[in-house]
């Protein structure tokens, strides 16, 4: 048995995304509740229909208890929390699909969100790497000044440049293409066009990353509902069927230095399993929502997924192939770089579902299926979902 077409996404919900020093006006808990309620309404369900919940550990949100009490859930049959950073939102799709495919639950909601700009969860305001996820990095790597995410991903990017000749301009084209998409999306935070010169003129943050290679920090939450196959068919909106789903994890997850190949990420490790389950080849994809905390990771994932051969991701991007109208449109919502960051990839899932439903507005693609979504977090944890209609 596999999870092929055993579950579908039946509802999505997002709060407004914002970047204001005055704050979002919502606590982390309140914005998570709002996203969940919107997903329930979108799915045509009642609160009491939700019998599973997968909250994110980021920020000051609820565990299952808070959702149960504030939503008045009658019966929670399944709850778990993952610890894969930005991979959570897609990795949770696998465990949610397992829960509904086995009859443990019928409608599982996945939620993440925080005040990542105005609140205490702001990554750039943290002195270092918190939590047990990063033990060896904190002890053996941070003393050398590798203390925040961009330092570690900068090492990977530099290695890719040395191995394959990829360039800062190629990284910059990721930001430029995603900005073009964001201008089509009213919920995207970044509203001004960006040229490659804008990118090249932006200051170094951690070489080879310039300011516009780094994603936003923002406030907001998002949620989606995974329903069992028989419960998905009678929903008001077209279900987004899970064709393939897998999570993957890098060697020595809490140390980047000791990995035999620091470019072999969880997304690359998970990808063959997801494609095999879906019966889809990388060349069959019509669009991809790739987790993009840094521009370079889009290029790395295009290669890790098998959409480009190693070293060909940069030229592929530079040729404009990830634009709407290119061979593989990427992040038609603007991604973390230009829409919003704070939902552990759930904003990427929401955009994939909108594309499959034909609800993507000005960014709508003519034929979006099959569409791939990734999450990537904690320096290499990854998850790959392939969705179809």
């Amino acid at each position: 048995m596999t999870l092929y077409r055993k579950a579908a996404i039946t509802g999505i919900g997002e709060t407004e995304y914002s970047r204001s020093k005055d704050g979002s006006g919502l606590s982390d808990q309140a914005m998570q509740l709002q996203a969940v309620e919107r997903a329930i309404t979108d799915a045509g369900l009642q609160r009491g229909d939700i019998d599973g919940i997968i909250p994110s550990p980021h920020g000051r949100g609820f565990t299952y208890e808070g959702f149960s009490e504030n939503l008045g859930l009658r019966e929670v049959n399944y709850s778990t929390t993952l610890h894969f950073g930005g991979a959570n939102g897609v990795a949770a799709m696998q465990t949610a699909a397992m829960a509904v495919a086995t009859g443990v639950a019928r409608h599982v909601v996945v939620v993440a969100g925080r005040n990542g700009y105005s609140g205490s969860a702001k990554i750039s305001a943290r002195p270092g790497l918190p939590g047990a996820n990063f033990e060896n990095m904190r002890e053996f790597e941070s003393p050398f000044g590798a203390s925040v995410p961009m330092h570690f991903y900068a090492l990977m990017a530099r290695r890719h440049m040395a191995l394959y000749g990829s360039t800062s301009r190629q990284f910059g084209m990721v930001a430029v293409c995603e900005r073009e998409h964001a201008l089509l999306n009213s919920s995207a935070l970044m509203k001004k066009p960006m040229t490659i010169e804008d990118h090249q003129n932006s200051p170094w943050i951690a070489e080879p990353f310039r300011l516009f290679d780094c994603c936003l920090e923002s406030d907001g939450a998002a949620a989606y509902i995974v329903s069992a196959a028989d419960a998905a068919r009678d929903r008001p909106k077209k279900p987004a069927w899970i064709l393939g789903i897998a999570e993957g994890h890098p060697e020595s997850p809490t140390s980047v230095a000791t990995r035999a190949d620091m470019l072999r990420s969880g997304v690359a490790i998970a990808a063959p399993r997801a494609f095999r389950m879906a019966g889809v080849a990388p060349g069959d994809l019509r669009a991809a929502m790739l987790y993009d905390p840094f521009t370079f990771l889009v290029i790395a994932q295009l290669e890790g997924l098998g959409c480009c051969r190693p070293g060909e991701g940069g030229p592929f991007v530079e040729a404009g192939e990830i634009r709407r109208g290119g061979r593989l449109p990427v992040n038609t919502h603007g991604g973390l770089l230009s829409q919003s960051h704070s939902t552990a990839a759930i904003n990427h899932v929401c955009e994939a579902v909108r594309q499959l439903r034909g609800e993507a507005g000005a960014a709508q693609l003519g034929q979006p299926a099959p569409i791939l979504v990734t999450g990537n977090g904690d320096f290499g944890d990854g998850a790959v979902a392939i969705l179809g209609d």
Partner: protein
Amino acid sequence: MPDLPYVVAVVELEEGVRLMSNVIGVDHGDVRVGMPVHLTWDDASGPYPLPKFTPLKSDSK
């Protein structure tokens, strides 16, 4: 935290072990992936001396 700018590098020892470190004693723009380096202990790096690396002399010109 070292003075800015500083070079963070993954260094592979001849024995095969890899570790995070800094490359010092060289302009940061001259550091290259694959550059041979040798160990130097940085006694000024805090309560514990840290193993850091400088380019091998033969490679520094």
